[in-house]
Symmetry: C2
Subunit: 805 residues, 2 copies
């Protein structure tokens, strides 16, 4: 997907249907290009039908005048003139075919090789059949070639019905994000599709170029060839500035515009955009801006202006600069702020979004229902994280608003059901019980449910009390629990209470309930709560937890036993804590399989009263949040008066697109988590899919163990898709390295010209990663391929090796 | 769009291309239906080509056995066998053609008439050419027939290339929200598309039915007819349960499932959904739930179970029940909580959403850029509401989060640039200056910027001071300003100071700056602020206004002069108010032409430092908000330390779908606001498009004036798309009527069987409206047709007449 070269313009030619003149118009383009450029490439990745009729042979035969300039090539050839997937089948077992990635990589390698060997040039890659014809593997062309994301030329259909097929083919390309740079078609004077399509696409900013249709086929081969040759000469003549000639100029113009637009984006973004969580004072140059051209699976395709400079400097040496593409793949190491579940631009999610957008747009939600919202609510309540305890689903727009709703619910439950006699003046000061390091979003209400810290604002007014949590990590090869210093030294404990044979043992919460550590936790919580109460601490109205991991707080993996005990202590009541306090699980980050499990409640062995879900919920496509609540919580708002209802609502509440994308996501996730990759990963971690406590990771256990033994690494932790490393701060006296600095080399591209990477199209990739102080973390989607994860493990390992103390 | 009958199953038959066997397979369906039902309808809305070849003639000719059962019909016939739009052109001026709405209404009327006259029956409506072939007017079929939203049958293409055309045609239907109930196609044993398509669509839950292809055409007409007749007999034989017979059963099943699902939705929604702003105690029965089946332009299509009951009760009398559809159109009277700008399910917005979803999915935004976000930021800052003052655009998820961001910006500006010496402890208590009735969203931080009132929560802690505003309305035919009682009686003023010759005079703020009222406002503000300060009131850090109208507060139209003077007083400094206080304009509701103007700043003649935009921004499709800020505001966060940055961000910040839908919306709005309807409306209001102060409304001025003279109406107000009425509370002693009760009759359907409504498809419509206490309001989209608005005016008028005191 990262094949953009200044000197080499590449287009992929799609057809609105088979037999619309794709090869003829491509041949004309190749000829017209040959008249202008030293080199023109024509590639037919897959050809079906007898060799003498092959498209590449046709192209070659009509390039006598530019023999040395035009290079034609076909990668896979099948005899039978049927759809490629069928041609493969009929060719029998003798033909082994490449998988989709390999086919795309082979094409990409051809393009890169060509680019490294030529001066100003054009390339045309002609597809087979229509836009949505199956490829060798049976995957549709528009889907398979999406890995390459080449600008497209669509050859329209000039026959009766061709307006429909051309527009539908265009829409199929559009649904997959393609840039359609031009539409070409024949002028049929009777059906006159070209007239209609010209106007139709003008409104959509797509230029349509037309040319006369080819002469009728003649019986005698020589005569036919001569007539065809004359036809090509006519339509590519530079005399009349229209049709193919005009298309060529347009394609060059749009190519240059594409490059100059990319080149301008960083400056322009710095001019008008105010980024979230970014100190603009640190954005010193355009190089500090990530210019994202497109994305696919786990990779962005980003503009890399340094390549351009390299290329200019080295263009006398073709090997010195093996990858002069202006774009390169970049692994999305934070899963785009923890949202990605199925990879970027997943076509099923696009189709889900499109179909409900086409059906409803948005429709207002109070006291109303529509199918996407109803299905999503039912799934989450009955067959998702709410299973067994939730009764109602409340929709909002993002994790932060979902948590605002949760807090409003919990506070009302407290003032209505737990302490109904509390004077109204006390309501504003009700406190939240939580953990240090908590984060529930950036709206001020959710900030108030967390301690003040670096992430604050003028109105932030932390209400509550937050315990320092014991944490889990792998240190020097061993699964370990670390108690914070606020725990008084306890003679009950021996080292054996901290070290475990595996992460699995730590997360087997039920088996640890009677251990000395459990008693230490209970005592610690009870005594601290008593001390807090005695000191006149805040009245606590709810327990709010990010179960298992506090992400934004620094990927703090909390000992699940501590959270379990915390819930039990709170529910039972304690000094200053009323019995039955509502418990909120903020599962925005940790839920929906980010950590390998649908919900954290079964592992912890306790049920919340309220839980919040977002991020993965919508597959990493667009914002939507759900707050689930138990029936008692819901009933605290029930009554005769409107004023006692939950008076919270956003105008786009339960917008159908978000709901349907969530439905589609949850349905795809169901298959993903029982896929071979997940089974394999579980096996490696000796995790049992049927035991809720059986934790595992998509990252390799021996890699994790090895990492934890590196001197540069203080501790490592992993669950599900998440890998987090705490960087040693150099107690041996080395200059302290921040996590950001440690992994600096991930920003570089591999410069081995023969390297074939795991990125779409196989080009060398670099890594986009986020750090939290001395914590570096890397994340995958739920469906990231094992190959990509292994490659990332190698990259992480060598980045650390570069930093050997 | 509301044509769902229990007894009459209707399907629209689309083709993947022309010449794929649409008529043949439809004929087979009609025959198979005729064997089972007393009545079968075949409708060909538009036919091109010689009459003897017409599809309806073909169907008729093969129904000898069921002559009495099968009714065939063609609405528009053209001789030339080309695309309908071209056939019209070639038929010359002699042919007048219906516009798109009329064509759709004619078809709908045919369906409704059939439904009222038959028992259990089937109907097939065969389209012309492919899915995206142009209709008579040139509009594409899939777009035009979207008004009817009939379930679709897609006839697939069995020829070479047909996999591609079938899938693309399906995707074009999907993009417009259609339910594709089945795909039918011929079994071509060589190309075997049916095999591939069967598997492909199985994964997408669409059933594919196949049947043998028709026999080759014979030269002799009689023989050909006999062969064809035999063919139909074969493929519709009930012996082999596959192909057409199986399709028929499937279509019946899916029809029944559709109806029973609709029937279950209300109960199920009540079981699992917690609605925003709804007192569930008031939702007593399923009838209290609006079940939305689809939406189009300004109308929902809603499930109306009472029709079903009517129908059951009346099915012996065909005229007693003229509209037995289980769905009816419902005018979306609140523009779906003020979000709709271009009508529901606008295809351009769907395509915009789809193309960037296909290109990026979502990509993370800090220190990054992508084309949709960059374009949107540039448009809003330089060529939109930020023109002339804004420097940067900050993205968030909805109006409430956009306001949280605005408040964080203003508070920081205050503590950094205005009162840098202020002790940190004072920050938490900084106050907002605003107006009583303000509303800025439901997150707790934005609630704290408003007074406490009925919409509150435990943590709500109003920080600031709010003035009672003078208001604008039309009372008894006159544009009037009303001063609240908190204004001391002022001898400067005479009645002439309150009554104006037109709304235009009130909104001509510049001309009023030196009037006695302006002086009254200045004195009032200054003296109150001084009194507040003297009484130890809160330290005010920002002025936050909803310019012109406070929507959620009760559609309070504030005297613009008061807001202008307020900004001036605050900017100049006053007792307790530092000079240069930041001013926030919350334009979430009022901006982007909801009130007929892009932004309120030019009319008020003052520039904010921060403004917030949402709702219309994304065309009524999905959530996204933008907070615009001036350069000084931005610079208050600039520095070397990350901690001093604006530490706010949502994971889906600047999600590409939202940004691109906004770009498309703004581009369509540009055309809408210079459309004939807008020019016409301006003319009626004698408003000058070139003068910023020239206010107008899409509602008719004489209608508004007449309303204001009704005894039931205390006052009326309108600007742009908004019409608000305050209901008289019956000072003549009548029982007080709430706004909700007054308009109860809008919930009823017109029961005139011959009525042709302005709703899509022309069926009788009812109205969904929201009220705010004694205020009823009605809203249009920016592009609502004058016809629909006139119809709504009539409906509103008669509802009020029903309530004549």
């Amino acid at each position: 997907m990262s094949l953009l070269f200044k000197h080499l313009r590449v287009h992929q030619v799609f057809g609105a249907n088979t037999d619309v003149g794709k090869t003829i118009l491509t041949t004309a383009l190749v000829r017209a290009s040959a008249a202008q450029r030293d080199k023109v490439f024509y590639l037919k990745p897959v050809s079906t039908g007898p060799p003498q009729d092959a498209d590449d042979a046709h192209v070659t035969s009509h390039m006598a005048k530019w023999k040395d300039r035009v290079q034609t090539h076909c990668l896979f050839r099948f005899q039978e003139p049927v759809s490629p997937h069928l041609a493969v089948k009929r060719a029998g077992a003798s033909h082994s075919i490449p998988d989709d990635d390999t086919l795309a990589n082979t094409i990409a390698a051809y393009v890169r090789r060509a680019a490294s060997q030529c001066g100003p040039a054009h390339m045309y890659i002609e597809t087979a059949g229509g836009v949505q014809s199956p490829t060798l593997s049976g995957v549709l062309q528009a889907d398979l070639y999406r890995r390459l994301f080449l600008p497209a030329i669509l050859v329209g259909d000039s026959k009766l019905g061709g307006i429909s097929t051309t527009i539908s083919a265009y829409e199929s390309l559009l649904l997959r994000g393609y840039d359609v740079d031009a539409i070409l078609l024949f002028e049929d004077d009777y059906y006159r599709n070209f007239e209609y399509l010209h106007d139709y696409f003008k409104e959509r900013n797509v230029d349509v170029f037309t040319t006369q249709p080819p002469p009728p086929k003649l019986a005698a081969a020589a005569e036919n060839f001569a007539a065809t040759e004359k036809y090509y000469a006519d339509i590519t003549s530079s005399d009349h500035h229209r049709g193919v000639t005009a298309a060529l100029e347009h394609l060059d113009t749009i190519h240059n515009q594409r490059i100059s637009y990319l080149g301008s984006m960083a400056t322009r973004a710095r001019d008008t955009i105010w980024w979230p969580f970014v100190q603009h004072g640190h954005v010193k140059t355009d190089h500090d801006v990530n210019v994202i051209h497109s994305a696919y699976s786990d990779f962005f395709s980003v503009y890399n202006p340094s390549h351009r400079a390299n290329h200019a400097a080295n263009n006398d040496s073709s090997t010195a600069n093996p990858s002069p593409s202006l774009l390169n793949p970049q692994y999305d190491g934070s899963a785009s702020w923890w949202t990605q579940a199925l990879g970027h631009a997943h076509p099923s999610l696009t189709l889900a979004a499109a179909r409900v957008s086409g059906r409803y747009g948005h429709v207002m939600f109070p006291q109303a229902t529509h199918a996407p919202a109803l299905q999503l609510a039912e799934t989450l309540v009955h067959d998702g994280p709410g299973r067994g305890w939730a009764s109602k689903a409340f929709f909002s727009d993002d994790g932060s608003t979902g948590m605002e709703v949760a807090i409003k619910m919990a506070l009302r439950f407290y003032t209505k059901a737990i302490e109904p006699g509390l004077p109204v003046e006390a309501w504003k000061q009700l406190g939240i019980l939580g953990l240090k390091g908590s984060y529930h979003g950036d709206t001020i209400g959710t900030m108030d449910a967390c301690e003040e810290g670096v992430y604050t604002c003028e109105w932030h007014n932390a209400k509550g009390y937050w315990f320092e949590p014991p944490t889990v990590s792998v240190q020097d090869g061993q699964a370990t629990i670390a108690l914070p210093s606020s725990f008084s030294v306890n003679t009950l404990l021996s080292p054996a209470n901290y070290g475990f044979d595996s992460l699995g043992s730590i997360y087997d919460v039920e088996s640890r309930l009677e251990t000395p550590l459990a008693k230490v936790y209970r005592d610690h919580l009870t005594s601290k709560l008593k001390a807090l109460h005695d000191a006149g601490g805040p009245r606590l109205a709810a327990l709010v937890l990010e179960p298992l991991v506090m992400g934004a707080g620094g990927m703090i993996f909390v000992d699940p036993l501590f959270q379990r005990v915390m819930v039990e202590v709170v529910k039972a009541g304690a000094p200053g804590i009323s019995k039955g306090l509502p418990v909120i699980f903020d599962e925005v980050f940790v839920g929906l399989y980010r950590l390998g499990m649908e919900s954290t409640a079964p592992l912890l062995g306790v049920k919340p009263d309220i839980s919040v879900h977002a991020k993965i919920l919508t597959g990493g496509l667009l914002p939507l949040a759900i707050t689930l609540a138990s029936q008692p919580i819901f009933e605290a708002f029930l009554g005769d008066s409107k004023a006692s209802a939950l008076l919270h609502g956003h105008s786009y509440t339960a917008h159908p697109i978000g709901c349907e994308v969530a439905n589609e996501t949850l349905s795809i996730i169901r298959n993903t988590v029982s896929s071979d990759s997940w089974i394999e990963a579980r096996k490696k971690w000796q995790a049992d899919a049927d035991r809720v406590s059986s934790v595992f990771s998509l990252w390799d256990p021996s890699f994790v163990k090895a990492l934890s033994r590196l001197p540069q690494v203080k501790e490592v932790m992993t669950l599900g898709t998440v890998l987090a490393l705490k960087i040693s701060d150099g107690d041996s006296g080395y200059v302290s390295m921040s996590a950001q600095a440690t992994f600096q080399s991930l920003k570089q591209l591999n410069d081995d010209p023969n390297a074939q990477s795991v990125a779409p199209g196989g080009a060398p990739y670099n890594v986009h990663y986020r750090t939290l102080g001395d914590i570096a973390y890397f994340m995958t989607s739920l469906n990231t391929s094992p190959g990509v994860i292994r490659s990332m493990e190698e990259r992480i390992w060598s980045a650390l090796e570069d930093n050997t103390p």
